[in-house]
Symmetry: C2
DNA sequence: CTAGAACCTGACGCTGACGTCAGATGCAAG
DNA sequence: CTTGCATCTGACGTCAGCGTCAGGTTCTAG
């Protein structure tokens, strides 16, 4: 599978895939002419990378964790990183939940008929 | 209240407060010498800005919404923005939840005793 | 064999929310 | 009056995850 096909299958850009390789997140074998060829499993790998990015992990952190995912074995350090990121995500969810509640409050407050000027709405 | 005091009270930097003014998110009256002076309500205002930032809103969006918060009145446009941001936050929470589950899976998989090498753990 | 689509390697550009530094001024205490 | 901390205005620096462009090469269909 070449890079264009992987890009369309995963929905990420060709540039991004090359960036992942540069960051050592995604390996590829090279053809004689130097073109990248990917295994089928690369699709899941890219999706995992995207998921972790969306969760706020840096490429550095992802790079450190991927070997651990592949091997199924974690070191005390990687366990600490994993737990730390999980807690950070928990806090972020809590913050987002608060923000959503705040937005709901604003929506309710501004959508309600204005008592001082009832015909505005 | 001068800028340094507001900074310590809210936990954000002096630079950030000046940036908020530049983005028209936070007003201040000036003393004769040009120094900024803030009302007590500025503390809540800054906390609101931080909350919205943390939720992924841009300063542009926050600027558009603040008048609506202050006046208690929303326009159809601002209602659309509010609803859109709320939905985006919902999707983001869902994504984070998925990521957390994935991390939990990884933690469980790598922390479990390795069947091929049981004494590693 | 050849056209042209897909791919390659640099390398610079972009964005947002500030950090940071320089040099000048304001303000309260002694 | 002076010391010295707080504040001021500009303006450049940062960082990550790519976008984009230039100029050259590889692969595949006909």
């Amino acid at each position: 599978m070449r890079i264009g096909e992987l890009a369309t299958k995963t929905g990420v850009s060709v540039r991004a895939l090359r960036y992942y390789e540069e960051q050592e997140l995604l390996g590829a074998v090279r053809s004689g002419g130097g073109q990248r060829h990917y295994a089928d499993t690369a699709v899941e790998r890219v999706e995992l990378i995207q998921l972790l990015y969306a969760a706020g992990l840096s490429s550095r952190t992802v790079r450190d964790l991927l070997p651990c995912v592949d091997s199924g074995v974690s070191t005390p350090q990687s366990r600490a990183v994993l737990a730390g990121e999980r807690d950070r995500i928990d806090r972020q969810i809590a913050e987002l939940t608060r923000a959503r509640e705040k937005l709901d409050t604003i929506i309710a407050a501004t959508s309600a008929p204005n008592p001082a000027c009832p015909y505005v709405n």
